[in-house]
């Protein structure tokens, strides 16, 4: 089979040229599907980054009442909070550490708070609570609030959680769209190959009578599908790679505000380019495999 690889390629290119229009239209179908795949990967990669950074910031801050500051009381509180369903982690943060993060959050100017260090520290001990899933944050916060010894409970706010939900559903609809487009592309390619098979029906019939193996008969068609796939991947790779570079430069690496850092283009775009070519070849070969296998099925 490998020995005749040159022949298989020659036959494949005959087919491609003979049905030039069909070749182009099914390559265009792949292009469209892959363009969405590429954009989708970029978006979902950035969504993942953003979600990650939001999830970092979505943390419940629990201040401990001034009358519950003994080590025993703190331990009991920690256990009570940990027992609430949906909790990922509960970290104790002493007054001193709270002051540290206050100072840090003010940056340069923070140093003026240094004078509060020690017994005069007006801050409270606190717990920093992470939840498993951003959606739980409100419920968990309410539960914590009811525990005796908790002074106040604060968290990043419902807006962030909502945003996360929106991003999640963007991603899910993206999956559905991409899968749908790929199915359509496979279907279109299998139609093109069907045409190619039809115009070689005589040849195939003779190959069968003289005892050519199915794998041999199939090979040029698989190559034909693969080449259609590769042709179809050029445009979407160009657009996603070029477009993302351009966008990244244009926006200076940020989306809307400093809060959302865009994913750096490299090496991400290398991966996407490779993934798109491979996906295109697989889609092309799948489409032609479907048709050839159907045509070659024994009817005895």
């Amino acid at each position: 089979m490998i020995r005749r690889i040159g022949r298989h390629f020659r036959e494949a290119f005959h087919g491609l040229i003979r049905h030039g229009a069909m070749t182009l239209s099914s390559a265009a179908a792949i292009s469209l599907a892959l363009l969405f795949v590429g954009i989708f990967i970029l978006i979902s990669q950035n969504i993942r980054d953003i979600t990650y950074s939001i999830e970092e910031s979505v943390q419940i801050h629990v201040k401990i009442d001034r009358n519950y500051e003994t080590q025993d009381q703190i331990n009991i509180l920690q256990i009570q909070i940990t027992e609430i369903p949906g909790i990922k982690e509960v970290i104790f943060s002493s007054k001193d550490q709270e002051l540290d993060s206050l100072i840090e959050s003010f940056g340069e100017d923070g140093q003026i708070f240094e004078s509060y260090r020690g017994d005069s520290n007006p801050l409270r001990h606190a717990f920093l609570v992470d939840v498993i899933d951003g959606n739980l944050i409100e419920r968990v916060a309410l539960s914590i609030e009811r525990i005796a010894g908790v002074e106040t409970v604060r968290y990043g706010g419902a807006k962030t959680v909502e945003l996360m939900n929106v991003l999640d559903s963007v991603r899910n609809w993206g999956y559905i769209l991409v899968i749908g487009l790929i199915v359509i592309a496979v279907f279109l390619i299998s139609n093109t190959i069907k045409l190619s098979i039809a115009s070689r029906r005589d040849e195939i019939a003779i190959m069968r009578t003289v005892g050519a193996k199915n794998g041999f008969i199939r090979m040029p068609f698989l190559i034909e599908g693969m080449v259609i796939g590769i042709l179809g991947s050029i445009m979407p790779i160009g657009i996603t790679v070029g477009g993302y570079f351009y966008l990244y430069e244009l926006l200076g690496g940020f989306l809307i505000s400093q809060m959302f850092v865009l994913h750096p283009p490299l090496p991400l775009l290398y991966y996407i380019g490779t993934a798109l070519v491979i996906l295109a070849m697989i889609v092309g070969m799948m489409g032609s495999f479907v048709s050839v296998t159907k045509h070659l099925r024994w009817k005895r």
């Binding site: 005749r4 022949r7 005589d202 003779i206 199915n214 041999f216 005895r300």
Partner: protein, 226 residues
């Protein structure tokens, strides 16, 4: 072939309880009116159909039990020639014959050598670079025969090879088949309607009617009774 029956899926009984043995190297005619099951018999032999009952064995292989993936390799044991030649119009005589060897992965040099050999045998060496439409019917059929025997099959099946040819050309084809039978030791099974041929070139003749063998004459010859 033992106790072979074939019923198609639509319920047509094409063959009933056929018992038939053909030795290696024989030359056999199969005759019978249309619809008598001749083509069905061929399809059973080349693995295109499986018998509903009974055993079909060729070169020691049970064809009914043959796995689909093994059919192609089995088919390299048999050559088939059709009434309508089935040549590829865009290929020359040489390429048509070469094609049959190429697609079973015969090495190039060996294949080219063999093509020249069989073209010589069928007397078409001069026409190697002609296209099928430049040839007479007889020459086209000889190309088809060359293609069928290129891989040295043990059995050559011809389904009405002379159906589209005038009597003179038909005789040439039969003489060619006899030559192949002698020189290449190929078993030949020829389906025909043509009683003249059967009577002129006397060979073992098997007559089919409505799926039954009604005569098996080892001296050949057949009296028309319809």
């Amino acid at each position: 072939m033992r106790n072979v029956s074939k019923t198609y899926q639509n319920g047509v009984n094409a063959l009933y309880n056929i018992n038939l043995t053909i030795e290696q190297g024989e030359f056999v005619y199969i005759i019978g009116p249309t619809g008598s099951g001749k083509s069905t018999l061929i399809k059973l032999l080349d693995g295109e159909e499986i018998p509903s009952k009974g055993l079909v064995e060729v070169v020691g292989i049970n064809i009914g039990k043959l796995r689909h993936s093994k059919v192609p390799v089995y088919r390299r044991n048999i050559g088939v020639v059709f009434q309508d030649f089935k040549l590829l119009e865009k290929k020359t005589v040489f390429e048509n014959v070469y094609f049959a060897l190429e697609v079973i992965n015969m090495p190039k040099l060996k294949a080219r050598q063999r093509v020249r050999e069989v073209l010589q045998l069928v007397g078409l060496s001069e026409k190697a670079n002609s296209y099928p439409h430049e040839l007479s019917g007889g020459q086209q059929q000889r190309t088809a025969i060359a293609r069928a025997i290129a891989n040295r099959p043990k059995l050559l099946i011809c389904d009405e090879p002379t159906g589209n040819l005038d009597p003179q050309k038909s005789n040439d084809i039969i003489q060619l088949l006899e030559k192949i039978n002698e020189e290449e030791k190929t078993t030949i099974l020829m389906v025909t309607h043509d009683v003249n041929i059967v009577n002129q070139f006397r060979r073992r003749t098997i007559a089919l009617q409505e799926g039954h063998i009604v005569a098996d004459l080892s001296e050949g010859g057949y009296i028309r009774n319809d």
